[in-house]
Amino acid sequence: MKSSRWRLLGLAIGATLLATGCTPGVQSVSIASGTATQVVSRQAAWGPLVQAIEKSEAASMYKLQTAVNIQNGNLHTSFTVYGTIQQPDMASIQVHENNFNIAFYQQGQVAYQQDGTIWSPAQPVSTLNAYAGYRDVVEYAMAHHFPLVQMNRTYVVDEYCNVYRVIVPNGTVSLPAFLGGAPGASSTELSSHASEVAYVFYVGQTTGYIRQIQTQSVGVVDSVGSLIMQTSTIFQDIDNTQLAKVQIPVSLAQQLEQGVQ
C-alpha cells in the first residue's frame, strides 16, 4: 500500500518535470529592443524630428549597438558593431563580420586595431559621429516633400519613444570615403539599382535624443538578385559621463607596456 503511494508520487513528479520542458521558454534578447508596427498619423510634422537630430548631433558621448542583417536565399549573414564614442576623436569599438572579429581603439591621433589577439597601429578615423548622415536623409525628404509618417509609441532601451518613418531613395546619404569612387556606389546608380529605404527614427520622449534607427531596404546585386537588408542602430547612455566614457582596452595597454608596438 505504502509503496504504491510512493510510486504515484514519483509518477506525478516525473510528469511535472516532463511537462515543464514544454512550457513557454525565455525568449532570447534581441538587439532591437522595440519595433513600431502601426501607423498612427500619415502626416506628421517635421519639427520634433529635426530638433532631435540637432540635439543628438551635439551629444558628446554615447554607446552604440548596430546590426546589419542580409537575407540571401535561406541564409542570413550579419555585421554587428558594439562601441563607445566620445567626441571629437575617441572611440572604442568591436566589429563582427560573420565570424571575423575586429577591435578598434582611437584617441586623437593614436589608433590601434586588433586582429585575433594582437593589436597593431591603424589610421585614425577622421569623423567620429555616428549620428552624422541622418540629417542628409531628413533634409532630402523635406526638400522633396516626402510624407513623414508617425507610428505607435515604442519602448526602446529605457524610455518611451515617438516613432517617425520616412521613405527615401537609396543613395541620399554620402558613403564612407573608401567607397567614394567605387563602381556602383554613386547616388544615381544606387537609386536606380536598389529599392527605396525606409528609415524609422525613435525619438526619446524624456531625453529628446534619437535612441534607435531602423532601416528596411532591398539591395540588388548582379548574379545574386535582391537581398533584403535590415539594419538597426541603438544609442544608449547618451552624455552619461560615467558609462559612456572611452577607456583604453586592457589588452592594448598590456601589449604596449611589454614594449610591443
Binding site: E196, T215, S217, V218
Partner: protein
Amino acid sequence: MVKSWKTVGLWVWYVFWALFANAVYVWILRPLVDDLALYGVLAVIAIILLWMTSLKRPIRRRWLMYTLFVLIVAEGYSTLAFASKLKQALVAIVMLVLLWLLAMLIGRVRPVASLLGGASVLIAQVFLPLNDWAFLTHFRVLQDAQVNLRVQNSPEAPFAVIPVKGGQAIITIDSHIPTKQELEQRAISATDSPDALYNVLQTAQGEYEIVELKSVGGHLKKVVPSPQDLARVNPLDLVRAFFPYELANWYVENGRVYEYLTPFLTDQQAVEAALDPASYPASFQAIANQASAKEVANWDDCLAQLGVKPDRSGVYISNDRLMGLGAARGSAVTMQAESVVGEGHFTTAQDNQILLVGDNSLHVYDVNLGRIVASYQGSADNPVPNDIRIGPLVSGGRDAVFVNASPAYILTVSPQGTWKRVYTAPSQSFRFETVLTGVRLYPEILTNDPSYIRNSPVRYFSAYRFVPSADGDGQLVRVWRVFRTNVVNETPLHLQGVPSEVLALDIYGTGDYLIIAPSNTPVLPAACAALAAIIVGGWLYRPRRNEEEGSR
C-alpha cells in the same frame, strides 16, 4: 533443437523490439511532444502507461529496463560526433558495454539477447542516423552522406545544380586540409608578394575543395568536377553563407579548384563602414556589388586557367541583359532585372515564361511574345527577396510564385497580368521549400514551419495542399509532417539512373546531405497498428510465474 530454435526466436524478437521501440520514439512519441506541447506530453504518458499495463508483473521490470536500454543506446550514439571513424566506433562500443552492464545490474535483462538488441540499433545507425529515421514515414532514403564543413563559416553544403549528361549534378564544397609535405612545399614557394607567406599559412587549415556530387548508378559520388562542369556554375551560389562579408578566393592546383576565405573589407574599411550607420543601406549595397563582381572575376579566372570559358546553363542575367535565349541560346534582351528565378507558366498554363527578380520587383518574361507580360513591385515595407519558389497550386494549373519574406506569401498572376496574394503564412518563420508534382493527385507544397501550438520557432519539414476558397484566396491543409528539423536546401533533382525525380537536401549545421524519394508506403499507420497489436497481445498473454520470461 527445439530449445535452440526458441532462443533464436527470442533473439529475433529482442532485435525487432530494439528497432521498433526506437522507431516508435522517432515516429510517434517525439512528434507528439514536438507538435502538441503539453497535450503531447500527456498523450505520451498515456501511451506509455497503456503499454506498461500490457507487461505482466514477472516480466515488467526486465522489459522496461531493456526498452530504456535500447532507447538510451540509440540516442547516445546519435549524439556522438567524432571526425575519425575509429574513435567513433570505439566510443560507441564502450558506451554500449557500460550501458549493457548497467541494464543487467538494474534490470536483470537477458545478457545475450540484450547485447544483440543494443548492437542492432548501433548498426542500423551506421546506415541511417536515428534522427533521419523521421524521413522514413514519407520517403525512401536513397543516400545519407556528408561533406566536411567548418560550420562557423559554412553551416550547410551549398548546392549549385548543373545539367550533366543524363540528368543533373551538384557542385559543392568539401573541407581540404593539405598534408604536411604539401604545406611545406607551398610555404617555401610563396614568394610572389610581401604577404604571400602569410596568406598561405593563415588559411592553410581552413581551405575547401570544389567537388561534384555526381550520380553513379543512382548514388551521388564525390568526384573532381570537369572544367566543363565548373563552367556551368554560378559561383555566387557557392558563397551565400558568408556573402558579402567574406570573400571566397579560388585557385587552381593540379586541375582542382580550391577555396579559402578572407574578409572582404580591410579592418580600416570595416571600421569606417561601421561608424557610419546612416549609410548602411547604401554602403552594404555597394559592398555586395563589389564582392559579387570580384567573385565572378576570380571564378572566371580559374576557368581560364582550366582552359574553359563560362558556359552558364539555362537563361541568366548578366549586366542587365537576359542571356541564353533562343534555340542556339545565343540571343539576349536588355532587361531591368538582376537574376532569374526559373522557368514556368505564370499567366497561362501553356506559354513558356521566365520569372525574374529585379529592383524589389518580379517580372514575368514571355519567351514566345518576347516581352514582359506582368510585373510586381514590392515596397520598402513589403520587400521581394531573392528567396522564391515556383510551382502549381492545383494539378495542371498555372504556376504560382512562393515568396519567402516574413511572413511568406503566395502570389498568382491572372492571364491579364494582375497579381493577387492568395495566401499569407500565419507564422513569421514559415518557409516554402519546393513544390512536388506527380507524387499525388495534387501538388505537394513542401515547407519548413513551426508548430501552431508551441511558441517555439523550431521548424519541421512538412507538406501542404492548396485548397482554393470561393473568393479566389485559399488555405493550406497539411498533408504530412516529417519531424526532422534543420532540413534546408530542398532541391528537386533528376539523377542519371533514377527514373523519378528525387530530392536533395542539407541538414543545417552539419554538412550532412540526403537524397530522398517520395514513398506511398503507409509506414506510420503500420507502426501504430503494430504498437496497438503488441499492447493487446500483452494483455492476452499470461507468463508462467516461476519461469520469469516472456515472449516480449
